[in-house]
């Protein structure tokens, strides 16, 4: 007969759940508001969402490092705190982009904002657990919300994007489940710290290595889908193209950051177990991803697709840092995202500002390069800001991504992978070409190819967001030091 389980409320340590609960409750409140009074303006929901996110940030800051809670499935360590903070911050930057001057379909539904908050809760669960099942639940909560958010954009290619992303995501979920099952079969546990202990004691057994590798391969494939690594990256440009520009920018940062945290937990374990094969596989994937995505980006005719490939390439960069499995490498991942977030979101916001309801410049693309020809003549400040974002993405100092780049390259050099740093350097040089292409169109071509209404969708909130992104991109040199010391402390406190 089973013993009755007695649980005291104190031992649940519900405080560790508070950030997720806040976002979930916020989403429910939005649904309730809609239920009571239907015809409210989107600005209310936008501001309310921001407030909810603020409260969530506050509760994350109140958490103690290295605590467990809720039957020990929630793990609040340093990396879960900083990744939650970054997720919430990126979300706060993202949601005001709903306040466009033109009416877009998705923002007329309050459900959009509720789904958005549920998605964030999913990401929070992903990063704040080392339980393979809870991670799976988090991934699926976030992904299902995200598919819907993409489809709500209500155009043919956004349906296509949502379905494509859904299919790929379902496949990834399958791989993840199978990988976890293999691990469970090996170790009898779904808790990563216990898995590590059991694997540690069993690595010497003959034949077990094949099972370990099998599990690792399945999980690697699952995360390669989520992180858009070669050869599972093909969905990315199409999905980004179909999604609205800010959502594409958001997708290039937040879901990937959450997935990186999980990957750090899982693959960090493998590398700690000295399964060198996993490290080499990750390195190979990373190098192939950054190089091939760069090659593909060179050939794009659409700025949004170019940025999609560029974000794949950046993901490859970051994946390489993951393979190092040093504290500095893991710190570099967070530093890179913290800086990349503003620049990339800013760049996508600039596309959003220039977005027309119909494809007026090209039969296939929303943002062909030609659309931005002579942008500097039409709107000098906008062109300068967009150029700063491009140069920053290319890694030109002193703009933000440069600092992330040198920190990752330095981590690679420290870990003895000088060839990797050289490959990264050469890739940055290749990447410079396609970023410059847009700069060349904006500054060096004459504006006869467009009708002068590039800034179609501009409003004050959007300008504010772009302004914040640009200010941080330019002034990043002053925030790098606090970021490095905070991230380094948090990462090393959680033992990575």
């Amino acid at each position: 007969m089973l013993e009755p389980i007695s649980v005291s409320l104190a031992s649940l340590n519900l405080g560790t759940l508070s950030p997720m609960l806040i976002t979930i409750v916020g989403g429910l409140i939005i649904l309730l508001i809609d239920l009571i009074k239907g015809d409210l303006h989107k600005s209310l929901y936008v501001m309310f969402t921001i407030l909810i996110l603020f409260v969530a940030v506050g509760s994350v800051l109140g958490l103690n490092v290295n605590e467990r809670g809720f039957f020990d499935v929630i793990l609040i360590d340093g990396i879960s705190i900083i990744s939650q903070l970054l997720v919430l911050l990126a979300s706060m930057l993202f949601i005001p982009l709903a306040l466009t001057s033109k009416r877009f379909h998705e923002y007329s539904y309050p459900e959009y904002f509720a789904l958005f908050l549920f998605m964030i809760a999913g990401f929070q669960f992903m990063v704040a657990s080392d339980n393979l099942i809870l991670i799976f639940v988090g991934i699926e909560t976030a992904s299902l919300s995200l598919y819907t958010l993409i489809a709500l954009h209500n155009r043919d290619d956004s349906y296509e994007a949502a379905v494509k992303y859904f299919t790929m995501g379902a496949m990834a979920a399958g791989f993840y489940a199978m990988g976890s099952a293999v691990i469970y079969a090996l170790t009898g546990s779904v808790e990563l710290y216990q898995i590590a202990n059991v694997l540690q004691s069993r690595t010497a057994e003959s034949g077990v290595m094949i099972a370990i590798l099998g599990g690792a391969v399945l999980l690697l494939a699952a995360f390669a889908f989520k992180l858009s690594l070669f050869p599972f990256h093909t969905w990315t440009p199409d999905v980004y193209e179909g999604a609205s520009a800010p959502l594409a920018g958001y997708m290039s940062v937040v879901p990937k950051l959450a997935a990186f945290v999980v990957a750090m937990r899982i693959f960090g374990m493998y590398i700690d177990l000295e399964v060198e094969w996993v490290r080499n596989a990750i390195l190979a994937l990373a190098v192939l991803t950054m190089t091939l995505a760069n090659m593909m980006a060179l050939a794009q005719e659409d700025v949004k697709r170019m940025l999609a490939y560029s974000s794949i390439s950046h993901a490859g960069f970051i994946m390489a840092a993951l393979a190092l499995d040093t504290t500095k490498g893991n710190t570099a991942i967070f530093l890179y995202y913290a800086l990349f977030m503003f620049t990339n979101l800013g760049a996508f916001t600039m596309l959003w500002i220039s977005r027309h309801k119909n494809k007026v410049y090209h039969s296939r693309y929303d943002h062909p390069f030609a659309k931005f020809a002579g942008f500097v003549k039409i709107m000098p400040l906008g062109a300068v800001i967009m150029a700063i974002f491009m140069l920053s993405l290319a890694g030109v100092p002193p703009f933000s991504v440069f600092w992330g780049k040198i920190y990752i390259m330095s981590a690679a050099v420290d870990a003895g992978y000088i060839w990797l740093a050289v490959v990264m350097g050469l890739n940055s040089a290749i990447a410079a070409y396609y970023y410059l292409k847009l700069v060349v169109y904006m500054f060096l071509k004459s504006p006869n190819e467009n009708d002068g209404t590039v800034v179609y969708n501009l409003t004050k909130p959007l300008m504010t967001i772009v302004g914040i992104a640009a200010a941080i991109t330019v002034g990043s040199v002053f925030i790098v030091q606090p970021l490095i010391s905070y991230f380094f402390y948090m990462v090393s406190a959680s033992g990575y």
Partner: protein, 508 residues
């Protein structure tokens, strides 16, 4: 004013940002005034500079990212002082001579940002800050070439950007490795060059790092075979772009050799003398021949400038006071002379919108002032005694003679070959009858152009006859650099090759 270097760096930046507000019609005067103030500040720097102190002066150190060892660290010594002054001077004169009317505001602002980056490169003592200015300087130049250049301007500007960007990224990996080595020895992160100087590296590390830094610098210089971007950049750039490119941007590469490669990797530098001398000789002779074959006046000067850069690199690797001081002096004189020559080509291009020699002939009778100044600069470029060009070239050849007489003789052909292509150019353009009708009514130099060119003529004469006030501070710093290198060198070969001086008079 101890923080004069910060003021020198950030004055053009702030002026550039404020300049966005200045009206389009007044922007030219605004730019020139800013450049004058900057030039006066640089002269002030010279006047308060202690020429007898070979070390770093006006040092400023503010921790920027202490956890990663990056400091805002500036300083100036005899090696960099005059390059800074030349930068301010050439920017000023180039700006005065601008004849472009289209989008003049953007041009002036880009120049101010460029000036910030150029001054920053020469006064940074932290590798990352150096790299920051080094890379940032590409952006305004990309815009200047790409927006106001010739028909192939976009191709040329992107080629320029990508070449230098690629080289510098390899250099960046070298810098990161250097910092890592420093950290593994001392336990703290530092990107300060002065900290790195103290690091004695094993020879094989030195060689790898030397190659990494070499790629960054050699592409910038540009050394053969990486020089192919330069003719495009010069050919397409507007006059002001060519002036800044030839006078200052190319010097960043050779300055990098003196500031980084020599003191950081003395053994590797000595081992690399012969390979680099070979490349330099190829640059000197091959590009001089290419220059002779050009039809376009600007291309002649562009290739001649590559050829002279070969002499500068050769002098840097002579590893003695004559050679290194000579090469630094030659950087200055090359900056002034090639800058002036590009200004002169610009003058004629403004009037006729062509640069082909065949279009001209007999200009000496139509534009006498122009012909005199051109001839003058041409003589300085060839290296005629009593002009600025002679001093540096002579010292470099003297310095290298000690290492290898044969190489020196080959390098000495620069004077002969230079004379051949330059005099041919002069003959075809200025002498003979005026064959082309359009040339008969050309105006001679106007006031604006005279203001830009006459100071350069005076400097060419002054420093040609009496180079001591400039040469002495350079020499002091170079000698302390060489003494330091000799102390630091580990291999007997390096100890033998690095000498303070081989002329008995100065050996004491």
């Amino acid at each position: 004013m101890d923080n004069i270097l910060s003021i020198l760096v950030f004055f053009p930046l702030i002026a550039g940002v404020l300049g966005f507000v200045v009206d389009k019609k007044s922007i030219r005067v605004y730019g020139i005034s800013v450049a004058i103030v900057e030039f006066l500040l640089s002269l002030w720097l010279w006047s308060s500079f202690d020429g007898n102190n070979p070390g770093m002066q006006f040092v400023e150190l503010v921790p920027l990212i202490p956890d990663f060892g990056i400091n805002y660290y500036l300083g100036v010594d005899g090696i960099s002082l005059f390059i800074v002054i030349m930068t301010a001077l050439m920017t000023l004169l180039g700006m005065i001579a601008i004849s472009i009317e289209r989008d003049i505001k953007n041009l002036i602002l880009s120049l101010l940002f460029l000036e910030m980056a150029m001054v920053g490169v020469f006064v940074s003592l932290d590798a990352i800050i150096f790299y920051l200015f080094w890379e940032f300087s590409l952006v305004p130049m990309l815009y200047i070439i790409g927006a106001w250049g010739g028909p192939l301007r976009i191709y040329a500007s992107i080629k320029f950007f990508l070449y230098t960007f690629t080289g510098s990224l390899i250099m960046l990996v070298g810098m990161l490795f250097m910092a890592y080595l420093y950290q593994s020895v001392s336990g703290v992160w530092s990107f300060s060059i002065t900290d790195w100087y103290a690091l004695v590296l094993p020879v094989n590390y030195q060689l790898w790092l030397f190659v990494a830094f070499f790629l960054g610098f050699a592409i910038k210089v540009p050394m053969f075979p990486f020089h192919t971007w330069l003719p495009y950049a010069h050919g397409q750039a507007p006059t002001i772009g060519s002036v800044i490119l030839a006078a200052v941007l190319l010097k960043m590469g050779t300055y990098g050799f003196v500031r980084f490669s020599l003191p950081l990797f003395p053994d590797a530098s000595v081992m690399m003398i012969m390979p680099i001398a070979t490349i330099s000789i190829i640059m000197i002779i091959y590009t001089a021949m290419v220059a002779y074959a050009q039809e376009d006046i600007k291309q002649v000067i562009a290739y001649s400038s590559v050829s002279h850069m070969g002499v500068i690199v050769l002098g840097t690797f002579a590893m003695n006071a004559e050679g290194v001081s000579g090469s630094i002096f030659l950087m200055l004189s090359h900056g002034i002379v090639s800058g002036a020559l590009f200004l002169l080509v610009g003058v004629i291009y403004d009037r006729r919108h062509t640069k082909l020699m065949s279009e001209f002939g007999g200009l000496a009778s139509v534009m006498p002032k122009f012909a005199v100044i051109f001839g003058f600069m041409l003589m300085a470029s060839v290296g005629l005694p009593l002009t600025i060009g002679f001093v540096g070239e002579f010292l470099v050849l003297l310095g290298f003679y000690h290492l290898s007489p044969i190489v020196t003789i080959l390098a000495g052909t620069t004077i002969i070959l230079g004379a051949v292509y330059m005099l041919t150019l002069y003959k075809r353009t200025f002498f003979g009858p005026v064959t082309n009708e359009e040339n008969k009514k050309l105006n001679d130099l106007d006031g604006k152009e005279m203001i830009a060119l006459v100071p350069l003529v005076l400097i060419v004469v002054w420093l040609g006859i009496y180079p001591k006030p400039v040469l002495e501070p350079i020499d002091n710093s170079v000698k302390s650099l060489l003494t330091f290198m000799e102390k630091k060198a580990q291999t007997p070969l390096a100890k033998e090759k690095i000498t303070l001086s081989q002329t008995s008079k100065e050996a004491e």
